[in-house]
Assembly symmetry: C2
Homo-oligomer: 329 residues x 2
DNA sequence: CTGTTAGCGCTTTCAT
DNA sequence: ATGAAAGCGCTAACAG
């Protein structure tokens, strides 16, 4: 059932059907009624593909993320999807695994499908995507990076000041009286590096002993947190505060500290990052940093929508995280 | 830059370009080379929309889920997306919130965009979608329900035997010596009802005291688990085993039991459901039921692909969950 | 092996 | 207010 069938049955031309379909005003009232009756009778839905071919827009955006199973990305992607849906766009979901080739492949498909815009969620994309490459791949499609940055035409950013966020955690521990702080670095993205620098700066500012020796690299996982603390214990290092780059790692750290018979937060204080459900399940619940994924998502959608529809003014922006007091620090 | 531009520059007709693009064999080798050079030079990508108009397929499937932020759905959707990507399909992500109207809206859009197939993840859709309605909305688009069922033409299911799954948990508790079991019912989907029935059946089989009085309704959340146990305590009920419909609720139950000074699992054993990361963060880690979302996702994709491409034989199937031993039971 | 032509289902001038 | 016709970028049948 296409627009011709409808036109024939309503005894009008396809132009008139098209006008009715698109709520144009220049249609006589009773003609409109007649057409709408036929439309309704057949539950007619115009083909978005044919429309897309004419308007060169399918009202679709691509959202690229490392792995939707990571709660932080899930929250971001969720809000992005809901907001775009509200605005009449569909979301094409892409899990790149943080891999260069997968990212390039998805971007190519996005271009072929003529998406209206692209959102890149997470700072991995800084490392994977070089500006000229992006520019040639994208060919003018607007892009927003949620917590990332690429210096390309028509690419904008909604950034999170993760260095500042970790700084909040350090300040909090220092205020509690912690003197021997360690940082568990559990990833190697730009954002992870900013967090690490934020730790080192804040420790220096507080006049405590710091430096790279106080940074332990580990996996972003429960086990990663456990292993890092076990390493500290094994090496006989003294510590009364552990700052983690992710809640899940912090949860592991808490377990490891408790297993060796020390109390959290009295003997060792611990902080997480993301203010996720993981933080609440932990016992005691984690003191953690809220990096506001929902806000980042909202702003990203707003920004990209402005870019696509060329309506409002638009510009990149930066979010400040906040600390959320739990029971571990 | 379209196929005409390429044809002109390569000094051939658009058909020849199309043949090269689609790797057809009937093109002279040096013609092919000439065309490919031009293609490469301009980084030409054919428009998927135009192709879609001809082939009436955009190589896209819609995945409807309640809320991608729920880890179980995230795992399922992740695997579905990756598998479809591997097969050359893109995934349109839809968060329905379990709402009838949103679901209908998404299905309408999916039809307009002429998706090749639809996956419904979760048993909420049983409640929301009536067969005739689905059938009229879908108009022949194949659909697979991951852990759901609808009696419509071209609709198939990959089911999980959740009643059996909860039965495993009950049997395990009984074997441990638990005599006073309670079930925390934290949702009201078809699957949740099956779990509840599974509990009641298994308790009866074991010859223990059971019945509806042993089912506590609560929210699917950490707080929901806490509140349910607090209610049991407040009412002075005796209990040594708590079976939960979700890991997150179980995590809350564990907290509440521990807060009142009882030991898990010695005084009260607890089981979760989903074998999620939540289970591992819990202290002690939850004994839980693995309902194999990745397997369900894989089978769903296989099934839908067969349906779309009309290749293999296809049929609905059912997965048996397994118990995963943790420290809470 | 290659080119010509007719659609795919719609929107959008341009006439009337 | 309505209709005829061109065209969006491609594939595929047909002709040569």
């Amino acid at each position: 059932m296409n627009i011709y069938d409808i036109a024939k049955e309503a005894g009008v031309s396809i132009s008139t059907v098209s006008r009715v379909l698109n709520h144009k005003s220049n249609v006589k009232e009773d003609t409109r009624q007649r057409v709408e009756a036929v439309l309704e009778k057949h539950q007619y839905r115009p083909s978005a593909i044919a429309r897309g071919l004419v308007s060169s827009s399918m009202r679709t955006v691509a959202v690229l993320t490392v792995d939707i199973r990571v709660p932080h990305y899930a929250r971001t992607a969720y809000t992005i999807e809901r907001e775009f849906s509200r605005r009449g766009y569909e979301v094409m979901l892409c899990n790149t695994g943080g891999e260069r080739d997968e990212t390039a492949k998805y971007l190519r498909v996005a271009v072929e499908k003529n998406v209206d815009g692209i959102v890149l969620v997470g700072s991995v994309f800084n490392t994977i995507c070089t500006a000229p490459e992006i520019e040639s791949l994208l060919g003018g499609i607007p892009m927003v990076l949620a917590n990332g940055k690429v210096d390309a035409e028509r690419s904008y950013s909604v950034l999170v000041d993760d260095g500042y966020g970790i700084g909040l955690a350090v300040d909090h521990l220092v205020k509690r009286g912690c003197r021997d702080l360690y940082y568990l670095k559990d990833l190697d993205t730009v954002s992870a590096r900013l967090k690490c620098e934020g730790f080192l700066d804040a420790v220096r500012r507080a006049g405590l002993e710091g430096g790279r020796r106080h940074v332990i690299e580990t996996d972003m996982s429960l086990e990663g947190g456990v292993r890092a603390v076990e390493k500290l214990l094994r090496e006989g290092r003294r510590f009364d505060g552990i700052v983690c780059g992710e809640d899940i790692t912090a949860a592991g750290a808490v377990k490891a500290v408790q297993r060796c018979g020390r109390s959290v937060p009295d003997d060792v204080a611990v902080t997480g990052y993301n203010n996720s459900e993981y933080a609440r399940i932990c016992e005691p619940p984690l003191t953690t940093i809220d990096n506001k994924p929902e806000l980042v998502a909202m702003l990203s959608v707003q920004l990209l929508t402005s870019l696509i529809e060329d309506t409002d003014a638009y510009s990149s922006c930066t979010i400040q995280p906040e600390i959320v007091q739990g029971g571990t620090a």
